[in-house]
């Protein structure tokens, strides 16, 4: 277990330096979209909030934190006294997991493809696809969060945004339900791409692709943003039989992700509980969130597929 105060300080320090909770090069957020040559401004903007792109880095950081958490110093396993700061921010070398980087790129490209196929043209703000600051909010760093939120809002407005299309539950929640409380005059409409696809009546018939899949509702979609039926509708029209785990919809169970930076060990225990529950129903687990994806994937056994919904809807065989 790591000293939460130290973890918070680390996140604060990195945010001020890099605009991310840990050192990440700016281009890592938007390089996936370069070959797509999407318009850079417009009323409908695809805003990823960088969460998908950060997951290969998060996985790398968590791996390092895990080593610190697991090591034994002075007979206790708690790393509560200055170890993180003595390591120094610079010592936390963050190399993204390369296999994850390519999965993330495929997911994001699939989302753009799905939107196009249902007739929704989006602009993409490239350099202005900034991190949403969701972790700052989650850690209660309200002042820092507010300042960051104002910056993100201005950048999106400068690109002509009226409606922003989000791709993950954390960014959807923060942009739709939290930003309005922190940013004066906030007037962006926010929709998850799953809502847009489902409400637009899009059908992605995948013919032989179908199969039995178990759905893992992310907490924020299910309990805070009422995105529950949309993914089910999309999956079933695409020919999948959607199975429900014991705890689903409004009472879905967390993947453990939010505390992986503080205690990778307990986060993993939570993920394992959830994984077991899901795989009782099917060997194909559908996730709707990059954090859920990473955490469930990390504890999944080889005979179980954890697949992002965008890939399934795009016709990637699980």
């Amino acid at each position: 277990m790591l000293n939460p105060i130290e973890v918070v300080k680390l996140v604060e320090d990195n945010m001020r330096r890099y605009g991310f909770p840990f050192p990440v090069p700016r281009e890592a957020v938007y390089s996936w979209a370069k070959p797509l040559k999407l318009p850079e401004r417009g009323p409908v903007i695809l805003y990823t909030g960088a969460l998908y792109q950060l997951t290969p880095y998060i996985a790398s950081v968590v791996e390092q934190l895990s080593t610190i958490e697991g090591s034994r110093v002075s007979g206790i396993a708690l790393k509560l006294s200055g170890i993180l700061s003595s390591l120094g921010v610079s010592r936390l070398v963050v190399r993204p997991k390369s296999d994850m980087v390519s999965v993330v790129e495929r997911i994001l490209k699939s989302i753009v493809g799905l939107l196009e196929r249902s007739g929704v043209k989006v602009a993409y703000p490239y350099e202005d696809d900034m991190y949403s600051g969701v972790l700052l909010y989650d850690l209660g760093l309200d002042e820092l969060f507010k300042g960051h939120a104002v910056k993100v809002y201005k950048a999106l407005k400068s690109r002509g945004a009226e409606l922003i299309v989000t791709v993950d539950p954390h960014t959807t929640h923060i942009m739709r339900s939290v930003y309005p409380r922190y940013v004066d005059g906030y007037d962006l409409k926010v929709k998850s791409y799953l809502e847009i696809l489902a409400e637009g009546g899009a059908e992605f018939k995948q013919g032989s692709i179908g199969g039995r899949v178990v759905i893992h509702d992310p907490c924020l979609y299910a309990r805070f943003e009422n995105v529950v039926e949309h993914p089910r509708k999309l999956l079933s029209t695409a020919g999948f039989e959607v199975l429900e785990p014991r705890r689903s919809r409004k009472m879905t169970y967390c993947c453990g992700g939010p505390i992986e930076g503080l205690t990778p060990r307990m986060a993993k225990m939570i993920a394992k509980t959830r994984f077991e529950e899901l795989r009782e129903k099917s060997k194909t687990i559908v996730t709707l969130c990059p954090i859920c994806y990473t955490n469930l994937k990390a504890v999944a056994e080889d005979d179980v597929d954890v697949v992002d919904i965008a890939l399934l809807l795009s016709g990637v065989k699980p």
């Binding site: 277990m1 000293n3 307990m266």
Partner: protein
């Protein structure tokens, strides 16, 4: 009372390696979740009852100062003796002066007693003190603290419990059957209860209109503790005061349902000490039940919280422990994720109100923000929102 978040983190870390602890919690929480889910699916009327309790509790929190005064007068009217304790220490002192020393004291499970450190204090005055709720007794014998609000020994396996009973109570058990252990405890505690000088209880609710205390239970130990000894002391946190007796009974019913114990075996209503006027209509106190009823109203940060826009929401809490059993973190930590008395989602907030918001905030970082607690709370407390707020309190302080 103080506590240190780093020490709590150390305890949590150790608990993660304790396979017996983990297994007991996994079983207890799964059983409880399924049971309550089935009950609520079958009894939709309970959801209506919840809504009524939410409304009654909201009114109560808004009128807290006034309700305290009304309850005070109603208690006097039924010949109970009311006291107001602003802090934990004051509550201990008041109760200590009623009990004195060299007495035999029996306690019905009370988290408020845990909050003020009552058992240890009464023992330090030279009294013999016994918990009579089985789970609470196990915790007493283990020398630990309650790991869940309703089921204090949720972290113990059957084998552990049976071992504690046979070793610490010095009773010879022929097997490790739960039935035999319960029977042994029953005999042991009956011996204490009939001889006890003082019975101490908490309360699920206190009705301001009548001064009636409502207590819900299944073991019948509360009945015995509040009616057998000549003196009954009830320690009642002021957030438990509701406008009417009907409101108070509704609180007890909802609490039982969300704890998975429905219908509750017993609901006790106690309005004043026992009395009789059967001879020439002369009222004499102390018939078969207690001749004295002392009611200590405990503030300990609650009045202040009632004026805070966010913390006031917590004062609706009816201590059903639902949020604990539903929380993915609590299932691995039990109340070790908490302060000296309370743990888990609602318990952290109670710790912030009654002990220390900053140290609690440091513990709140473990909250996933997943909102299962919010979704399962019968009185609609925005627990995860308050926990996030506590994180910001801790972040600002460092």
């Amino acid at each position: 009372m103080t506590f240190n978040s780093l020490q709590a983190y150390q305890e949590i870390w150790d608990a993660l390696s304790d396979s017996e602890f983990q297994e007991a919690l996994r079983r207890a929480s799964t059983t409880s979740q399924v049971k309550v889910e089935e009950l609520l699916a079958e009894r939709r009327d309970l959801l209506e009852l919840c809504r009524e309790v939410v409304e009654a509790k909201k009114r109560s929190v808004d009128l807290l100062g006034e309700l305290v005064e009304r309850a005070y007068r109603s208690l006097e009217a039924v010949k109970a003796k009311p006291y107001y304790a602003e802090e934990a220490e004051e509550a201990r002192r008041i109760i200590g002066s009623i009990v004195g020393s060299g007495k035999l004291v029996v306690m019905a499970k009370s988290m408020a007693a845990m909050e003020v450190g009552l058992r240890g204090y009464l023992e330090s005055l030279g009294n013999e003190v016994w918990e009579t709720d089985l789970g609470e007794l196990l915790v007493q014998l283990e020398g630990s603290r309650p790991m869940h609000t309703i089921t204090p020994a949720a972290h113990m396996t059957r084998l552990k419990a049976v071992k504690l009973i046979s070793e610490k109570l010095g009773v010879k058990l022929k097997s490790d059957s739960v039935e035999e252990a319960v029977k042994a405890v029953r005999e042991f505690l009956r011996g204490k209860i009939v001889k006890a000088d003082v019975g101490v209880s908490g309360a699920n609710a206190l009705a301001a209109d009548t001064g009636a205390i409502v207590l819900v239970e299944n073991e019948s130990n509360i009945r015995l503790v509040t009616s057998t000894p000549p003196i009954h002391i009830a320690l009642v946190p002021i957030d438990k005061i509701v406008p009417t007796l009907l409101d108070a009974v509704k609180v007890a019913m909802v609490q039982a349902a969300y704890a998975g114990l429905y219908p509750p075996t017993y609901i006790n209503i106690i309005a004043g000490p026992s009395s009789t006027a059967d001879i020439e209509r002369v009222r004499v106190y102390g018939a078969q039940g207690p001749r004295e009823l002392h009611v200590v109203l405990l503030d300990n940060g609650r009045m202040k919280a009632s004026k805070d826009t966010l913390l006031k929401e917590q004062l609706r809490c009816i201590r059903c422990g639902r949020c604990q059993y539903e929380c993915p973190v609590w299932v691995h930590t039990a109340n070790k994720w908490g302060g000296p008395a309370y743990g888990g989602p609602m318990g952290l907030i109670w710790t912030a109100i009654t002990v220390d918001p900053i140290e609690t905030g440091k513990l709140a970082y473990l909250c996933l923000g997943c909102g299962r607690c919010d979704a399962s709370c019968p009185v609609e407390i925005p627990l995860s929102t308050i926990l996030r707020h506590l994180k910001s309190v801790a972040s600002r302080s460092s």
